[in-house]
């Protein structure tokens, strides 16, 4: 999604082909081997698509999906096995349920396992989480291997071939069973990942902090991703059990997880077509390479390294590059449409409405202590509705800390926070964002590989009301919301003057443009209170002017603003009132002119007036 901003993915162009495939196939292939390969590819593709949700979208490397796969496969096996094919087994009880019925608990149980995995995933990241997933997979493997009374341990479970009535569903007929499932899964995954859900996942990956400040609950979406991924893995596992009608624990070992991770990265992450291509390659490569006999794996490993050198975005990345050479990305049609539809949208409309008290913000005796360091001490500060308050002070005086406390990233060690009369204390970051508190960041927190337009759309997250089901099925309400969001995001970009770059990746923006993007994203929340943390830092004079006029317009629309800045002329010109911090304490407060000439303030910035100043020549 993010690699091809605002364009249709490879897969969405191929829909007609995919739907016609099952009609063509039986005529083309009447060979048990190729059908077997095909069925294998289909089942594995579902697993790799599930892995992509976690690895490609949330950005957490999982090398334990074989375990989730195993839960799905074994649940089906345990529930459908019959004693006559498993003589001399240690299994205590044979349930002998039909396959279709057994799939339901398989998916649910695996989803629950994914839910459990979500908790460590919230606390750890990167290689730590990767190792947790390895260990998780190993625990599941150990359990299956040891619990003979349930799983028959290492001897495995043999299943009756799948039948519909008396008709056997093996070979090409199994293809007809699995293929619609794969298509359905791809459809659902594609829809979810190309919606505000997918953007939420990726936002968390690029900057969890910024995502929370856009109203996205990191905990909810991360765990949801693991649950969805696990459910799909369990579904794949269920169908796997009937691929060869036999399951044994040694299939689901660590190496299996590694192979699928390789398939995913090889094919290309965040692409359903890539998932299928990656799987097709690892299923057929051992056979293609059998001429190399025992050298086979060395050749395979070398191939992987070459892929990394030349195709960092996987096979799908190469396909896209080649495709672009013939049909370069042309956004003009979409741009024209967005221009048209966004005409007349006033992004600043209605920002000052809403109930609540006359105070947009009230801090009462707020203290923020980190161990022995007191970053903010006994801070009391108000912002009237519709006012702009400047917050200044030397570096390290606690300004950014104050903003972090306001947005909920830190919990104050003492004091109260209120906004429009509501106590912010019990509210988490994403909840505060949904209440209309938006912010920009001193150190840019953009979603680097999403497009500029998509970055703003993340800010529109709270405006989406569709349920996951509506999104997955691409029902009309979901589609309409998505379209409306695109239009509004474009309008926001026009407001800050960034619309030309709408389809660029955020990471390619110039510094000044990046700062504007943060403002547009913050405005997308339709905030009532806007916290700007050094929005003009590092900008040229012209760029500062642009920011200035933006702030003027926002103020004129009635937005309450907290402005942290070092550019004195800017702060003094626009603020109604200014608060000065030094070493975490408020040392002065009042109208700009008053504060500017306050000797305490001058001293804090410039130091004590030298008594005997020998100025060097």
């Amino acid at each position: 999604m993010s690699a091809a901003p605002a364009s249709r993915s490879v897969l969405s162009r191929l829909w007609p082909v995919l739907l016609l495939l099952p009609l063509v196939l039986p005529r083309a292939i009447d060979n048990g081997y190729y059908v077997g390969l095909l069925n294998r590819i289909l089942v594995y593709a579902i697993l790799v698509a599930s892995l992509d949700l976690v690895v490609g979208y949330i950005g957490d490397v999982s090398i334990g999906h074989a375990g989730l796969f195993a839960i799905g496969a074994y649940t089906v096996a345990v529930l459908t096995a019959s004693p006559n094919l498993n003589t001399e087994s240690s299994i205590a009880h044979f349930y002998q349920l039909p396959f279709g019925v057994a799939l339901v608990p398989a998916v649910l149980l695996t989803a629950f396992a994914g839910f459990l995995l979500g908790f460590p995933a919230l606390r750890s990241s990167g290689p730590y989480l990767a190792v947790i997933t390895i260990v998780y997979g190993l625990i599941i493997y150990t359990f299956i291997n040891e619990q003979e009374a349930i799983t028959n341990g290492t001897k495995g479970i043999t299943l009756e071939s799948l039948k519909l009535g008396t008709m056997s569903l093996r070979g090409i007929r199994y293809f007809y069973v699995v293929y619609p499932v794969l298509v359905a899964v791809m459809f659902l995954v594609h829809n979810v990942t190309h919606s505000f859900w997918g953007r939420a996942f990726e936002a968390i990956k690029y900057s969890a902090v910024a995502a929370e400040c856009c109203g996205i609950s990191r905990a909810y979406f991360k765990v949801a991703a693991f649950v969805l991924s696990a459910a799909l893995a369990g579904l794949a596992g269920g169908f796997f059990a009937q691929l060869d009608s036999y399951v044994a624990p040694n299939t689901f070992a660590y190496n299996f997880s590694v192979e699928f991770l390789i398939a995913l990265i090889f094919g290309g992450v965040r692409s359903v077509a890539g998932n299928i291509i990656g799987v097709a390659l690892i299923v057929t490569l051992p056979d293609l390479f059998s001429r190399f006999n025992d050298y086979r794996l060395m050749v395979y490993g070398t191939l992987l390294l070459l892929v990394l050198y030349f195709m960092p975005e996987g096979v799908v990345g190469i396909i896209r590059k080649v495709w672009r050479r013939f049909r370069p990305l042309d956004h003009s049609a979409e741009r024209a449409q967005l221009e048209r539809q966004s005409e007349g949208i006033n992004v600043l409309a209605g920002l000052n409405e809403g109930a609540g008290g006359p105070e947009a913000l009230q801090l009462k005796g707020v203290e923020m202590r980190f161990g022995g360091l007191v970053a903010v001490r006994d801070l009391t500060m108000d912002i009237r509705r519709g006012a702009v308050r400047g917050l200044i002070g030397p570096n390290g005086s606690g300004k950014s800390t104050t903003v972090n406390v306001l947005t909920g990233l830190y919990t104050p060690t003492a004091g109260k926070l209120l906004s429009f009369g509501e106590d912010l204390g019990p509210l988490r970051t994403f909840q505060r964002a949904r209440r209309g508190i938006a912010r920009t960041f001193q150190n840019l927190q953009l979603f680097a590989d999403l497009s500029v337009l998509e970055n703003v759309m993340v800010g529109l997250h709270p405006s989406f009301k569709s349920s996951l089901l509506e999104v997955a099925l691409r029902l009309p309400r979901a589609r309409a919301e998505e379209r409306a969001a695109r239009v509004r995001a474009y309008a926001l970009l026009k407001f800050v003057g960034l619309e030309q770059a709408a389809f660029e990746r955020a990471r390619n923006l110039a510094y000044g443009q990046a700062r504007l993007l943060e403002i547009a994203r913050a405005l997308a929340l339709s905030p009532r209170l806007l916290l700007l943390d050094e929005p003009a830092a590092g900008l040229t004079a012209g760029e500062i002017g642009a920011i200035n006029s933006l702030i003027q317009r926002m103020k004129a629309a009635g937005l309450s603003i907290l402005l942290i800045e070092h550019h004195m002329d800017m702060v003094m010109a626009i603020s109604d009132e200014v608060t000065v911090l030094d070493f975490g304490k408020k040392i002065a407060e009042g109208r700009p002119a008053v504060v500017q000439s306050d000797p305490v303030v001058v001293e804090a910035y410039l130091g004590k007036h030298p008594t005997s100043a020998a100025v060097p020549a």
């Binding site: 490397v61 606390r123 390895i134 260990v135 660590y254 991770l261 395979y300 992987l304 390294l305 927190q445």
Partner: protein
């Protein structure tokens, strides 16, 4: 007595995990990548050592030196061919695939160019276990009591020595401080005049050389084969994580914990589940202290 016996074998096994975990930590702290092929480097060391010492009959010291050199060169190749291209392209997963691929190549290479079988590596200190606290027979021999392989004592001693030397080196020498600087913030270190590329190269070469030495150390008490490194490599991840990926001594603690818990669980609970307590502790630990026992939580300024 029995428990003591189990502790000894657990500690020896644990020190091997610790060495490999130490290897993981070294490259992680400087390059922020986890070398998934490190277990295969352990195998490389074992195989090269076996070929030189057992098959060709060179003296052990020479074989060991050659193993260190081979390991270091291997690490340099891994870095240049696998890791650097992916880091250059800012590919988030590239290095995972690269290290996995190198691991596959190493393993298959050993199978093709050396052998698919398992071989015995004679310990330079002798293969018979020392008997401690046994009772002395009439003919002067000792029976019963604890059986300790001299190689196990060598493993413990050498592993601690390696970790100790490297950690001290990091604190005491200027280059060591450069390594620490690059671990903290490689861009700033680079601005301070530290050649961060060289530091990372050095860390890779050191890490793989250590893994190769670990292979030679462990070979006499296990078996040399093309697949000897796979399981060890995976277990060592756990050791790394328990101790904290950036901590040298943490690797030792993690390794020891894993080795001992395996040994005791196998005996007193169940051999099938012997890995499980280690795993469970790991997950619990990471729920409460995500950066490991000795890791430092990174505080990012927003």
């Amino acid at each position: 007595m029995q428990t003591l016996q189990l502790l000894i074998s657990g500690i020896a096994q644990g020190m091997i995990y610790a060495l490999v975990a130490f290897g993981y930590n070294i490259t992680f702290s400087t390059s922020k990548t986890l070398n998934f092929s490190l277990g295969n480097f352990l195998m490389l060391g074992g195989v090269v050592g076996f070929v030189l010492y057992m098959t060709r009959g060179y003296p052990f010291a020479a074989a060991l030196a050659a193993v260190i050199v081979v390991g270091a060169i291997g690490g340099a190749i891994l870095l240049k061919v696998g890791i650097e291209p992916s880091l250059r392209q800012r590919n988030a997963y590239g290095w995972i695939l690269a290290t996995l691929a190198v691991g596959i190549i190493l393993r298959n290479g050993a199978e093709v160019f050396w052998s698919t079988d398992d071989f015995k590596f004679r310990s330079p200190l002798g293969d018979s276990p020392l008997r401690l606290f046994g009772h002395h027979e009439a003919d002067g021999s000792v029976s019963g009591g604890l059986g300790v392989y001299p190689q196990e004592l060598l493993i413990i001693a050498v592993s601690l020595a390696i970790v100790g030397v490297v950690e001290t080196f990091k604190k005491v020498t200027v280059f060591g401080k450069a390594v620490q600087a690059v671990s903290e913030d490689k861009d700033t270190a680079s601005l301070m005049g530290i050649d961060q590329k060289f530091v990372i190269l050095f860390s890779f070469m050191l890490s793989t050389a250590i893994a190769c030495v670990a292979g030679v150390l462990v070979a006499p008490i296990t078996l040399v084969s093309a697949t000897m490194g796979t399981v060890l490599g995976v277990k060592a991840y756990s050791a790394s994580i328990i101790g904290g990926l950036e901590s040298g001594y943490g690797a030792v603690v993690g390794g020891l914990f894993l080795g001992i818990s395996e040994s005791l669980t196998a005996r007193f609970i169940s051999t099938g589940y012997k890995d499980v307590p280690g795993f469970v502790v790991l997950i619990l630990l990471l729920l409460f202290k995500p950066s490991g026992l000795f890791g430092r939580a990174a505080i990012r300024k927003v």
